[in-house]
C-alpha cells in the first residue's frame, strides 16, 4: 500500500513568501543597510596593499650584507622552471662559494610565479618578494637582469622567515 506523506521541501514557499512583497522588503532593507557599512576598497595608487610573508610576488636574488649575492649558480632554478623563464651563466670567483652567476636573467613575461625556483634552491638564494607592481612597455624591459633582481636580505626577511617555518 502506498502511503502519501506530504513532506515540506526546502523550496516550498510559505504564503508570505509567495506574495513576494515582504521578501522584497527584506531584501531591500538588507541592501539599504549595506550602503552605510564600511567600504573595503583600497584606493590603489595612494594606499598600497602590504602582503604578508606568504605572498608570492616577483622572484628576486638575495643579496647579503656585504653586497654579494648568495647564488652559487648551480642552475637548479633554471632546470625546474616550468615556463623556462630563468637563464643562469656561471663563472668562478675567489670567494668561499667559488662559483657565482655571471649572468642571471628572469624573463618576467614568461614567469608564472609558481615559486618552484625558490623551493628548489639549496642556498635560499632566490625567493619570491612582495613586489607586485610589474609593468613594461616593451619585451626587452621585461627581461630582468642582476641589476634588478638583487635585493638586500633584510628586505626579504618576512619571506625567509615564512619559508623556514616549513623546512
Amino acid at each position: 500500500m502506498e502511503t502519501k506523506i506530504k513532506r515540506r521541501r526546502i523550496k516550498d514557499l510559505s504564503f508570505w513568501e509567495k506574495i513576494y512583497i515582504p521578501e522584497i522588503v527584506k531584501g531591500l532593507s538588507l541592501t539599504f543597510r549595506t550602503m552605510f557599512k564600511p567600504k573595503f576598497t583600497m584606493e590603489y595608487p595612494e594606499v598600497k596593499f602590504e602582503p604578508s610573508g606568504s605572498y608570492r610576488g616577483r622572484p628576486v636574488l638575495v643579496q647579503e650584507e656585504n653586497g654579494v649575492e648568495r647564488c652559487v649558480a648551480c642552475g637548479l632554478c633554471s632546470r625546474v622552471c616550468p615556463a623556462l623563464a630563468i637563464e643562469v651563466q656561471a663563472a668562478e670567483t675567489d670567494l668561499e662559494k667559488e662559483r657565482y652567476p655571471e649572468k642571471f636573467e628572469i624573463n618576467m613575461i614568461r614567469c608564472i610565479f609558481c615559486g618552484f625556483c625558490e623551493e628548489v634552491c639549496p642556498e635560499e638564494a632566490i625567493v619570491m618578494s612582495k613586489d607586485y607592481e610589474l609593468a613594461f612597455t616593451n619585451r626587452e624591459d621585461a627581461i630582468y637582469g642582476k641589476d634588478k633582481l638583487l635585493v638586500p636580505v633584510n628586505k626579504l626577511q618576512d619571506r625567509i622567515d615564512f619559508l623556514r617555518q616549513y623546512k
Binding site: G27, L28, T31, F36, K39, F40, E43
Partner: protein
C-alpha cells in the same frame, strides 16, 4: 497674455526642461554607479572631479570619441532611426508633466508645465508605448540574433505590462474624473494621495513602470548574461549613448508620472494653513515635487541593485496571472469607494 508671450514662455520652458533633464540624466547615471558601489561595499567613481562628480561628462566624452560601427547585414536606415525614436519619445513626454502650481511673477501667471492639454495621461501612455518601437526596431535592424531576441522580448513584455498599467491608471482616472494631469494632482488634495487611497493600484503601477522602463528586475530586453547587450548589442558611439540617455530619461519620466498620479504631485498636505506668501508656497511645492521624484528615482536604483532578474516565463506569469487581476481588483475597490463615499 498675447500669442507672442505664450510662445516665448513655452520656448523658455522647453529649453529649461530639456537642459535640466539632460543634466539630471547625467547625474542619475553617476548616482546609479555610486549606489551600486555602496550596496557592494565599494566606493564607486571618485577620480574625475570632486568625489567623481565629473564622471558622467568623462563617460559622455568617451562615447563621443568612439567609432560608430554598423554591422554589414544591418538595415542601415532603421538602425540609425531607432535611437532617435527612443530619444524623441523619452523627451517629448515631459511636455505634459506639471512640475508645480502656477507661478505668479508680476502680472504674469505662468503654469509650470509646457502644455496643459486635457488628455495628458493618454498622451504619456501613448508615447511611452511608442518607445517599444525604438527597441524592437533596433533589435530587428541590427542583423544579430541577440539583438533580435532582445527586441522580441521587449515587445512581449510591453504588451503584457501595458495592460495592468492601463488598468491601474483607470483607478486614478475614476477618482479624478479627468485626464488632465493638473486635475489629477488637484484631486489628491491633503492626504488623499492615490498611493494611500488605492495601495494595490499603486503597487501594480509601480511594478508595471519598472517593466515599461526595462529596469531590473524586468530588464529582459538587455539581460547581459544571456543576450550580450540585448537590443543594443550592435550599437556603439553616440547611437548607443542615445539609447542610454533614453533609458534614464524614461526612468525620470516614469518617476514624475508616478508622483503625479499617486503621490499627490507637487502638493504638500496642509501647506495653505502655514500662510506663506504665494511665491514661496509655489517654490516649496515645486521643491516637494522634485523631492518626491528623487525618492522614486532612488527607489528605482535601489531595487536594481537588490533584486535578481526574472526569468522570461516568470515575467509572463507575473504580468498576466498576478498583475492583471490585481489591477482589476483595484478598479473594483475604487469603484466601491466612490459608491460608498460619493
Amino acid at each position: 497674455m498675447s500669442i507672442l508671450e505664450i510662445v516665448i514662455f513655452s520656448l523658455i520652458k522647453i529649453v529649461l526642461i530639456v537642459g535640466v533633464m539632460l543634466v539630471t540624466v547625467a547625474y542619475l547615471v553617476y548616482f546609479e554607479r555610486k549606489i551600486s558601489a555602496w550596496t557592494q561595499n565599494r566606493i564607486g567613481p571618485n577620480r574625475v572631479g570632486w568625489h567623481g562628480a565629473l564622471q558622467p561628462f568623462a563617460d559622455l566624452f568617451k562615447l563621443v570619441l568612439k567609432e560608430d560601427i554598423v554591422p554589414d547585414n544591418a538595415d542601415r536606415k532603421i538602425h540609425a532611426i531607432a535611437p532617435i525614436i527612443a530619444l524623441l519619445v523619452a523627451l517629448s513626454t515631459y511636455a505634459v508633466i506639471p512640475f508645480g502650481p502656477d507661478l505668479q511673477i508680476g502680472s504674469y501667471d505662468i503654469p509650470l508645465l509646457v502644455a496643459d492639454i486635457n488628455i495628458g495621461v493618454l498622451f504619456i501612455l501613448a508615447l511611452t508605448s511608442l518607445g517599444v518601437y525604438a527597441i524592437t526596431l533596433a533589435g530587428w535592424s541590427s542583423g544579430s540574433k541577440y539583438s533580435l531576441l532582445g527586441g522580441i522580448r521587449s515587445s512581449a513584455q510591453m504588451i503584457s505590462y501595458e495592460v495592468s498599467m492601463g488598468f491601474s491608471v483607470a483607478g486614478v482616472l475614476l477618482l479624478a474624473e479627468s485626464l488632465r494631469p493638473v486635475a489629477i494632482v488637484e484631486s489628491q488634495a491633503g492626504w488623499m494621495w492615490n498611493a494611500i487611497v488605492q495601495p494595490i493600484g499603486f503597487i501594480t503601477f509601480l511594478v508595471s513602470a519598472f517593466a515599461e522602463t526595462n529596469r531590473l528586475p524586468f530588464d529582459l530586453p538587455e539581460a547581459e548574461p544571456e543576450l550580450v547587450g540585448g537590443f543594443h548589442t550592435e550599437y556603439s558611439s553616440m547611437k548607443f549613448a542615445g539609447f542610454f540617455l533614453a533609458e534614464y530619461a524614461n526612468m525620470i519620466i516614469a518617476s514624475a508620472f508616478i508622483v503625479t498620479l499617486y503621490l499627490g504631485g507637487w502638493q504638500i498636505p496642509y501647506i495653505q494653513e502655514l500662510g506663506f506668501p504665494p511665491i514661496v508656497e509655489t517654490l516649496l511645492c515645486f521643491g516637494a515635487f522634485l523631492l518626491k521624484m528623487a525618492a522614486i528615482l532612488f527607489f528605482f536604483l535601489w531595487v536594481r541593485w537588490s533584486l535578481p532578474r526574472f526569468r522570461y516565463d516568470q515575467l509572463m506569469n507575473l504580468g498576466w496571472k498576478i498583475m492583471f487581476p490585481l489591477s482589476l481588483i483595484n478598479i473594483v475597490w475604487v469603484a466601491a469607494l466612490i459608491m460608498i463615499f460619493g
